[in-house]
């Protein structure tokens, strides 16, 4: 199978994720979309590793997973905290930083 197809898949997943981040309001869904984008980029990295015949891409994919895990921990904590104070998981309700 042609490895370029994986790249197409990665682009597709990334686009779905990005669209989700832009159009959804629920923080949890937003979070899942971010994860989808991260995994799409992981897929692309692994594919590039395969294409180029070295391990650079795979190593960076591991790093991404670690960072993503840490981000999930912090991000979920924030979401829970926001939910406790505002009784809502909608990101549009947390708009205090506007001028």
């Amino acid at each position: 199978m042609n490895p370029v197809n994986y790249l197409y898949l990665a682009a597709l997943l990334f686009t779905i994720g990005a669209t989700g981040v832009l159009v959804r309001r629920n923080a949890i869904v937003l979070f899942m979309c971010v994860e989808l984008m991260l995994n799409a980029s992981n897929l692309a990295l692994v594919t590039f590793s395969r294409l180029h015949g070295n391990l650079d891409g795979q190593i960076i994919a591991f790093f991404t997973m670690v960072v993503a895990a840490a981000e999930v921990v912090v991000g979920l904590a924030i979401i829970v905290s926001v939910f406790r104070t505002r009784h809502s998981a909608s990101v549009d309700d947390t708009n205090l930083m506007k001028l």
Partner: protein, 631 residues
């Protein structure tokens, strides 16, 4: 003996300082202190004069260097005095007439609670005026020039509780400033051309300067003279200056300060002799003013304003004579001195009349006063005969000489100037006869004032009478004394030079014609104001009369052209500032503000929109990178 010269200035200056700083404890005798300072200065002047008389002609000018005022390399401002034949004439006139008027003021200002201050200002004026005529350089002269302007301002506005007096003082000050600009520019021109402004070096080097520079200096000096001596076009302040107390009008605005312009031109004769254009401008100014003032004098019902018009006109004669060059300098100064006597006498007479008439100045409310005020009548009458140039009195000797000099100027110019001077003499006779008839002859026309006090005309006290008598004697005798053996001409010739000129008419012809026109003027005035009774309310009058009552529309002219023009200019500048410069600055501010307002909308607090801009940014980055690679 020369070290007495600074004392001349110092005495009245000390008097002014003591009177103005001494406070109320001087109120009881302060006025006599003022009289003393002035009389002592006159005494010193006499001593110096006789000392000068005893020396030979070449040794007469005396110099006294006091100190260096501003010692800077290349710019040495000296305080030094120069007493020559010209200065000493002025010193005697200023201190002599000044002392008489000080004495007169003791009586005239007797009921004024600010009398001490008045005498302080009078002494200040004397000091400044003496500084003006004794300075040996233009910068020190300028100090005196400004000093007399200040004293004039303070004294015109002495009754500052009257708004008219306060306004008149400001007007005089402002109009004089215009002339003063001329003097300061002239001094700057001299300094840049000759590197000095001392009289001797400037006059010595005058012939080395270019024609244009000399004409420029001459015209600027003429502008200064116009301001101080109330000559057209800067004449408008003199009529209003009559708001001041009458002794002030007599001393400052008739006898001394207003003649400073004539002194300036005569003193700068070395410059004017080399600048024919400036001389031409000077005679034009003089001739126009002598007619202008005479016409204004004809229409005024206020006795002091009629005399002010006359002063303007007589100084016009002097300026014209000074503009004629060596033919005229001596006669300008001679007329200045005789005018100092008779015009001061006339003003003191007018003051005496006002004193007896509850400060009424309208001549239509006088009439028949000769019976009530015999002394004033006689002294005023002698002054009157002197000013119209009645043969044998002082005006005859000085004015006829000026008319003669005008004809002797030669050519068409000479005829025009001579004719103007003759017409002026006729008009002078007319308006002075009018003043005389309206004041002292006819039926009484005074009425009770608003509070029902009817004036009781009475003769003034002797402190006022004595100066009037002395000035009347001067009005009668000074001319003959000066003309006797041409003593005045001989006295001044070493300073100003003298040239007889070639008159197309003989001396006797000029005298005859002058006498004829004077008689005509007197006759016309008698027909109008002597034969028929004077109306208590002024008639409507012809167009010229109405214009002359408004000072020949000079104030209207100034108002429309200068004030109106100035206002338009300011309005234009304000518009330019508000719409132009402020517009640019405000426009920039509005553009920045508007842009920020629109940019602020991006900060809406929605995570999604921030995310979108991040995606947009990332997209741009990627696209740029790809594009760069493709290229």
């Amino acid at each position: 003996m020369d070290n007495l010269i600074p004392v001349l200035v110092g005495l009245p200056l000390a008097g002014a300082a003591v009177l103005l700083l001494g406070g109320r404890r001087l109120d009881r005798f302060g006025h006599w202190l003022g009289v003393l300072a002035s009389t002592a200065s006159f005494g010193v002047g006499l001593v110096l004069f006789f000392d000068m008389l005893s020396r030979s002609t070449a040794q007469r000018p005396a110099f006294e260097h006091l100190f260096t005022w501003v010692p800077v390399a290349g710019f040495q401002a000296q305080v030094g005095f120069q007493l020559d034949q010209l200065s000493v004439v002025f010193v005697l006139l200023i201190t002599g007439v000044g002392s008489l008027i000080h004495l007169y003021s003791v009586g005239y200002m007797a009921h004024d609670e600010r009398r001490r201050r008045f005498f302080g200002y009078l002494n200040l004026f004397l000091a400044a005026m003496l500084l003006l005529v004794l300075a040996d350089n233009y910068l020190l002269l300028y100090v005196g020039w400004e000093g007399v302007g200040l004293a004039s301002y303070l004294l015109i506005g002495f009754w500052q509780h009257k708004p008219s007096a306060a306004t008149a003082a400001k007007k005089a000050f402002l109009v004089n400033r215009v002339g003063d600009i001329g003097l300061s520019v002239a001094i700057m021109l001299m300094f840049s051309t000759f590197g000095t402004f001392a009289f001797g070096p400037v006059f010595g080097a005058a012939h080395t300067a270019s024609q244009g520079t000399l004409t420029g200096i001459g015209l600027m000096l003429l502008l200064a003279a116009c301001g101080k001596s109330a000559q057209v076009p800067l004449q408008s302040w003199l009529g209003d200056a009559m708001e001041g107390p009458t002794p002030v009008s007599a001393l400052i605005h008739a006898a001394t300060m207003v003649t400073a312009g004539v002194y300036l031109i005569t003193r700068s004769s070395a410059v004017f002799n080399l600048a024919p254009t400036a001389q031409l401008a000077t005679v034009c100014v003089g001739a126009v003013t002598l007619l202008f003032g005479a016409i204004v004098g004809c229409a005024k019902d206020d006795i002091k304003k009629a005399l002010a018009g006359s002063t303007m006109s007589q100084i016009g004669y002097m300026v014209m004579a000074a503009g004629l060059g060596p033919i005229g300098y001596v006669f300008a100064i001679m007329h200045l001195v005789t005018h100092g006597f008779f015009k001061a006498g006339l003003f003191l007479g007018a003051g005496s009349v006002m004193h007896g008439m509850n400060d009424e100045v309208d001549m239509r409310r006088y009439g028949g006063l000769r019976k009530h005020m015999p002394l004033t009548f006689v002294t005023f009458g002698l002054g009157y005969l002197a000013i119209i140039g009645f043969p044998g009195l002082s005006g005859y000797f000085s004015k006829d000489k000026i008319i003669e000099a005008a004809f002797a100027h030669g050519g068409t110019e000479g005829w025009i100037l001579g004719t103007a001077a003759l017409v002026g003499a006729a008009v002078t006779a007319f308006y002075m006869t009018r003043v005389m008839l309206m004041t002292f002859f006819g039926e009484k026309r005074w009425q009770p004032d608003a509070e029902g006090h009817e004036p009781h005309p009475h003769e003034s006290p002797s402190t006022m009478g004595i100066p009037m008598v002395v000035l009347a004697v001067g009005s009668v005798g000074a001319g003959a004394l000066f003309a006797w053996n041409s003593s005045f001409v001989k006295w001044l010739t070493p300073v100003t030079g003298h040239d007889e000129g070639h008159s197309p008419l003989s001396s006797w012809t000029v005298s005859g014609i002058t006498f004829a026109v004077i008689a005509l003027g007197v006759l016309v005035a008698w027909t109008m104001y002597g034969r028929q009774p004077v109306q208590a309310t002024p008639p409507v009058g012809s167009l010229l009369t109405r214009a002359a009552r408004r000072d020949l529309l000079q104030d209207d002219f100034n108002h429309v052209v200068l004030v109106g023009g100035g206002q338009h200019l300011t309005r234009f500048l304000v518009y330019l500032d508000a719409k132009g410069f402020d517009g640019v600055v405000n426009g920039i501010a509005a553009a920045v503000g508007g842009t920020s307002g629109r940019m602020r909308k991006l900060q809406n607090g929605y995570v999604r929109s921030y995310a979108l801009s991040m995606f947009g940014g990332a997209l741009v980055l990627v696209a740029t990178t790809l594009l760069m690679r493709a290229v």
